[in-house]
């Protein structure tokens, strides 16, 4: 299986009055066909900017992709015109958003919105598209799909709205599905249902998924491979089982240690000291060095490259050099 999406040295900056925010500063990763890649990291580390950069939906101004390449199915997305990009959005790359409450247009019935997405790309007559929408609603386990298509968004619960969003995303059978924190705004019990739904549909449709989350639990149950982001960079990448069994980067280790466990008797939660760096003026060298327990001299001067230290397990850390 070849890789469907290959992101290389992607850098997205935001030019604001307070200075240049280097939201992404050289991000590289790839997703194979039929694979779920989990992208984890703290709030503000650049996960969502990665997603919107791939979709070509960076608000501009102030945002701009300053360098790098995004190869999708052999095509360079960054060189496409807006019109060409529009035919890829939805049709080949679809996206699910974090907040289902504000992701649907409140003035149209939900079935119509899904049908509209189908119509926009395939010019399917709206009546047929509505039937297709009802069929999709059935696939995402919305009860009584034929009645559900004529509901307005405010008449549906959060979980149901997210199912509608998933149905809309899947309506055109995209090759890549970007799910940006798809369950963060939902109750835990609904979360599990939505996640297993995404996993089932991913298997049925054979799509690849870029799953963005700050929740390591979500990532560990879903992803085949995991990339850990810190301050606009990928610091570690590897197969899910390797990465969770044997995390290499001190940041990943800190993240995993910070998960409270019921079987351990600890009175205090483990934390990573310090705070995430200011992206207008990030620390020189390795961006994690001010918080790193293993900090060395070289860390303050040189940015460590992302290198494979074990088969299929890459890390960007000077401690593994040589």
């Amino acid at each position: 299986m070849g890789s469907l999406l290959e992101v290389k040295d992607l850098a997205t900056y935001f030019y604001t009055d307070e200075g240049i925010i280097k939201a992404l500063d050289g991000v590289s990763f790839s997703i194979d066909e039929g694979e779920i890649l989990g992208l984890v990291g703290e709030t503000g580390c650049g996960k969502s900017v990665t997603a919107t950069s791939i979709m070509g939906l960076i608000p501009s101004p102030p945002g701009r992709i300053v360098r790098g390449s995004i190869l999708f199915n052999g095509r360079e997305l960054l060189s496409l015109s807006e019109r060409q990009m529009r035919s890829i959005r939805g049709r080949e790359i679809a996206m699910i958003f974090q907040d289902p409450a504000s992701s649907l247009n409140p003035v149209f019935r939900v079935g119509f919105q899904v049908a509209e997405a189908i119509w926009a790309h395939l010019k399917t007559p709206i009546r047929e598209a509505l039937l297709k929408a009802a069929e999709l609603f059935g696939r995402v386990n919305i009860p009584d799909p034929l009645a559900a298509i004529s509901r307005y968004p405010h008449q549906l619960s959060g979980g149901m709205k997210q199912r509608v969003m998933i149905a809309m995303a899947l309506s055109l059978n995209p090759k890549l599905l970007i799910a940006d924190e798809p369950t963060t705004a939902l109750d835990v019990s609904i979360q599990a249902q939505i996640l297993s739904l995404i996993k089932r549909l991913q298997r049925d449709y054979g799509s690849s998924v870029l799953l963005i989350s700050h929740d390591l639990g979500v990532i560990s149950t879903m992803a085949h491979r995991v990339a850990v982001m810190y301050s606009g960079l990928i610091v570690e990448e590897g197969r899910a089982e390797d990465l969770f069994q044997k995390p290499l980067h001190p940041y990943t280790q800190g993240l995993l240690a910070a998960i409270p466990r019921v079987d351990e008797d600890k009175s205090e939660l483990a934390v990573i000291e310090g705070t995430i760096p200011d992206l207008t003026n990030p620390p020189a060298g390795c961006r994690f060095h001010p918080r790193c327990p293993w900090v060395m001299k070289i860390c303050e001067a040189e940015r460590p490259p992302l290198k494979a230290v074990e088969p299929k397990h890459k890390v960007a850390c000077h401690a593994y050099a040589g």
């Binding site: 979709m55 959005r89 409140p106 149209f108 926009a120 790309h121 008449q155």
Partner: protein, 285 residues
């Protein structure tokens, strides 16, 4: 399909509006006014321009319910026909202002940046003129006629609509469904027309209603100054203007058109305020 599933958001707004007595009074006045305008030939008791010097300054009586003016024309008929001209001016000039204002405001709000800056600074320049003076200057330049009146009032109403639309578009564009629409590959035009504007509609509706009142006042004001509708056409401001000379001897000639203006403007304002509360229930607190 259950009954509940077909309920539109507009129904909820109508339910809230129905509870507001003042708004309903406003709606009633507006309906009466529009009916007068539409059915003027059928309901006016006399010809509005037919003079009868014997009836000059006739006080209200059974034949002429509101009396007669200086040329013996029936005032009630003139007021009813006046509604027709006023409504024509209001609707056409507000449509002009809506089309231009919404387009400019939506473009500015949606694209932002330099385009927005350019549009809004231009609107600021228009706003810097006192409204009446701007309309006055345009009419003085083009000459007084109903068409020029509509153009003048339309132009001077554009900035209000542009600003309101821009603000609403900015707020709506922040919603994820707008990003979502782009993410399913909708074109900018389609995003603006189908996703942004329908959700930005309520402040525009309120502004349209309130603007109807302002436009009526401006049109009457211009008529009063002799730059609006020309006599012998019955327009309320023009009627008021010619009646002012007889204010002492025959006050009823001025009072009735004045009352017509006042009641109609009040009606639109009541309705506009009511719509504001009905469409944005959270704003009320």
């Amino acid at each position: 399909m259950t009954k509940e599933s077909t309920k539109r958001p507009a129904h909820a707004a109508w339910r809230r509006l129905k509870k507001n007595k003042i708004a309903i009074a406003g709606l009633f006045i507006v309906i009466l006014y529009v009916a007068c305008a539409i059915f003027a030939p059928h309901i006016s008791p006399h010809d509005p321009t037919k003079q009868s010097l014997a009836d000059s300054f006739l006080m209200p009586n059974a034949e002429h319910l509101l009396g007669c003016d200086e040329f013996g024309r029936d005032i009630l008929s003139r007021i009813i026909w006046g509604a027709r001209i006023s409504l024509l001016i209001q609707v056409s000039s507000v449509i002009v202002a809506l089309l231009v204002g919404i387009s400019l405001g939506a473009l500015g709000g949606y694209y932002g940046g330099k385009l927005d800056e350019l549009i809004m600074r231009f609107m600021d320049i228009l706003l810097a003129f006192p409204g009446m003076l701007l309309a006055l200057a345009i009419v003085a330049m083009l000459g007084p006629s109903v068409r020029n009146l509509i153009v003048a009032i339309g132009i001077y109403s554009v900035p209000q609509f542009a600003r309101i639309t821009r603000g609403a578009v900015l707020a709506v564009s922040a919603n994820e469904y707008v990003l979502g629409a782009k993410a399913i590959g909708e074109s900018d035009l389609s995003v603006i027309v189908r996703y942004v504007l329908p959700n930005a509609l309520s402040p525009i509706i309120v502004q349209t209603t309130l603007r109807m009142a302002t436009v009526l006042l401006t049109a009457s004001g211009l008529g009063f100054l002799g730059l609006g509708v020309q006599p012998p056409n019955p327009e309320w401001g023009t009627m008021l203007s010619s009646a002012r000379m007889y204010l002492r001897s025959a006050p009823h000639v001025a009072i009735f058109p004045g009352l017509a203006i006042m009641i109609t403007v009040l009606g639109f304002n009541f309705l506009g305020d009511g719509l504001q509360d009905a469409l944005n229930p959270r704003l009320k607190e």
